[in-house]
Amino acid sequence: MSLRRDGRLGAAWIVILIVLPFVTAIIALGIGRMSIAPGEVFDVLRAALSGGHASSELIEKTVMQLRLPRIILAMLVGAGLSVSGCAFQSLFANPLATPDTLGVASGAAFGAALGILLGFNLIGIQLTGLAMGGAAVALTWLAGSGKDRGGLSYIVLSGIMIGSLFSALISFVKFVADAESELPAITYWLMGGLDKANYRTLSLGAPVIIAGVILFMLIRWRMNLLPLSDDEAKASGVNVRLLRAVTVVAATAITASCVSMCGQVGWVGLLIPHMCRMLFGNNHLSIVPASVSFGAVFMIIVDTLARSISAAEIPVSILTAIIGAPFFIILMRRSGGWRL
């Protein structure tokens, strides 16, 4: 069960990476305050696919209306944040790069907070989140790139600056928010949670994430050129500027969509790609699909725990760190880490 010489995944891994998220999802669909056996979940799904109805209306409603959209959102967010984290790390040849490196997540979070402050509904919050995420990247790009200044370190630096600018703006929004109603809503929202999931929010955010993930899957071999130095990349004969631009746009769109649907979910974009690099090395032929699959699985597990270990919903960012950090450290110590 190892990689092929060129960095491609072996058949066993391909099967695992495809099957694992779906198995996890079916199990997770049965977990919650009302416990449903995987067999019944399966029946409900099959009935829904064939257009019919399951035997129990209550079970059908729980699975199809409450849990399924949430689990789809978890899969999308996990896969999306992981793959864009992976792309940002390679783009900046820096293991600490995360989806927030260009200020995307802070921008999107600010947009959402602003939406809450202005009393928008969920769709409105999602839209302002997306818009501000895009605006943050545009600002970073304007500040950090330009003729003869080049170099990715400028972009990273201005990303950090723009990120802190938007963090300050978030604080400002909190400061002016009504302490009774809006402030708790904003704070809770910023901690991240998938409880707002329904098919309407999904229909707005999912296409962007899916399109981005598919794009990264398609160009994954070429992504191997991302960490190379400028001259080496140019000498590959590939249009590296275009490759980098496509990577930035896709990763940004994915991140902004995720943040606008479920708030800031930290860690996933750092943790999962690192885990994949420890397992498979740096070749994007394997780590892109692995990040997508493991990201989805990780997020389903974390979100299922968030909604089921206590009566009250636990913000998902807290759990990603509590579960992720020890797991990451164990993996790092056992594998001896990795290098970019």
Binding site: R5, D6, G237
Partner: protein, 376 residues
């Protein structure tokens, strides 16, 4: 372009290349070079003279202020990247190579210009990568990650990556810097062997001796933006080394059982005369050109048939000097001994001798008549 015109074009040419960084002094002034298939060009100069800048301008990673680089007569600047980088390949300095894939995956990246944006390397691409690694003797490194191999091994992997593009021109940025004695030799031998197979090589080097031992052509740069291009023996002279590097050096010869190698020994820092005072000159232009006709003989022992064509081409080019030729195939060992008798100007005979000395895996020695030749 007709076939005749194409023949008349050098494979690679720089015409009147000038470059200065924004707000800085003119680093490169009026650079002119020409390079044919199978030739090696050494670029020499002190730190800061613009050796790497020259390579980057030539490859259009920086843009010439004026002047241009031509590949088969076509301006490199207007060539599509994918077309250019199938014919030319770049080997960066090993320490600046960052990404950490396995050696085999790194070599595969050399195929990039031949692989579509949405595809991965095919079986054929992998065969090429395997063959190149085999050819360079690094097949055993294939599955090791690049951060876990030595500097010399990494340099060979980077050369293999460049060769995986199946280029006609190989551009190497200080390929033997930071390497130990043995690895320097391996890298230089590899370059000589690739040139013998017809690949044109351009390399930056800090070692004038490596230019003399490996390169048929040399370009020497000074800090003042001066440059001189020509046959290595005419460019890499004691005078020019003093002018460009500010070092008093002696060029000597070391005789080994199978050939005579030039070597450069730095004697001391040259005081007083500023580098700009007197211009770089080719050996022939100084008036001390060795024009006296002498008799000489060159004996070549070929250890295999591999480079017979290169040797014959060299003799054909200097046909006017030949007064006799003897070839003896030694059937039992499959080796071949050639002796040619020559008459002509010392400088020409030296040039032929130097050219033969660059061909790998053969033994060459030149003997001059007693009176005519005074070394130096």
């Amino acid at each position: 372009m007709s076939e005749m015109e194409r023949k008349a074009q050098a494979l690679l040419k720089i015409e009147k290349g000038c470059f200065a960084y924004k707000g800085g002094p003119q680093i490169l002034k009026d650079i002119n070079i020409e390079l044919e298939a199978g030739e090696i060009l050494a670029v020499l100069g002190p730190n800061g003279a613009g050796k790497t800048t020259l390579l980057r301008c030539m490859m259009d990673m920086l843009h010439w202020q004026s002047g241009r680089s031509l590949l088969d007569g076509e301006d490199i600047r207007s060539m599509p990247a994918s077309k250019l980088w199938r014919r030319m390949a770049y080997v960066p300095q090993a320490r600046s190579a960052a990404a950490s894939y396995t050696a085999f995956q790194t070599v595969l990246l050399g195929r990039s210009s031949r692989i579509g944006a949405f595809s991965a390397p095919s079986e054929a691409d992998m065969k090429v990568a395997e063959r190149v690694m085999e050819r360079l003797g690094i097949a055993h490194l294939a599955d090791k990650p690049c951060h876990a191999i030595s500097g010399g091994e990494l340099q060979m992997v980077l050369i293999a990556r460049a060769m995986a593009a199946e280029p006609e021109i190989l551009v190497l940025d200080e390929p033997e810097s930071n390497l130990d004695f043995k690895n320097q030799l391996i890298v230089l031998d590899t370059m000589s062997a690739l040139a013998a197979e017809g690949v044109a090589c351009i390399f930056n080097t800090h070692y004038p001796a490596h230019a003399l031992q490996r390169a048929g052509k040399a370009l020497m740069l000074t800090k003042g933006g001066e440059s001189i291009f020509g046959d290595t023996t005419a460019v890499v002279t004691e005078d020019n080394i003093r002018r460009a590097f500010g070092v008093n050096a002696l060029i000597g010869e070391v005789e080994t059982p199978h050939n005579i190698m030039k070597n450069v020994v730095a004697v001391g820092v040259s005081e007083g005369r500023a580098a700009g005072n007197d211009a770089l000159q080719t050996a022939g232009a100084e008036g001390g050109r060795k024009t006296d006709d002498v008799l000489a003989s060159i004996t070549v022992i070929m250890h295999s048939n591999e480079h017979a064509a290169l040797i014959n081409n060299a003799f054909r080019e200097y046909n006017h000097l030949l007064i006799g030729r003897m070839g003896l195939p030694h059937r039992r060992s499959e080796k071949y001994i050639i002796t040619v008798m020559l008459e002509g100007p010392v400088a020409d005979i030296e040039a032929l001798s130097h050219r033969l000395g660059l061909i790998p895996d053969i033994s060459v020695k030149t003997t001059y008549e007693q009176e005519g030749y005074i070394h130096g």
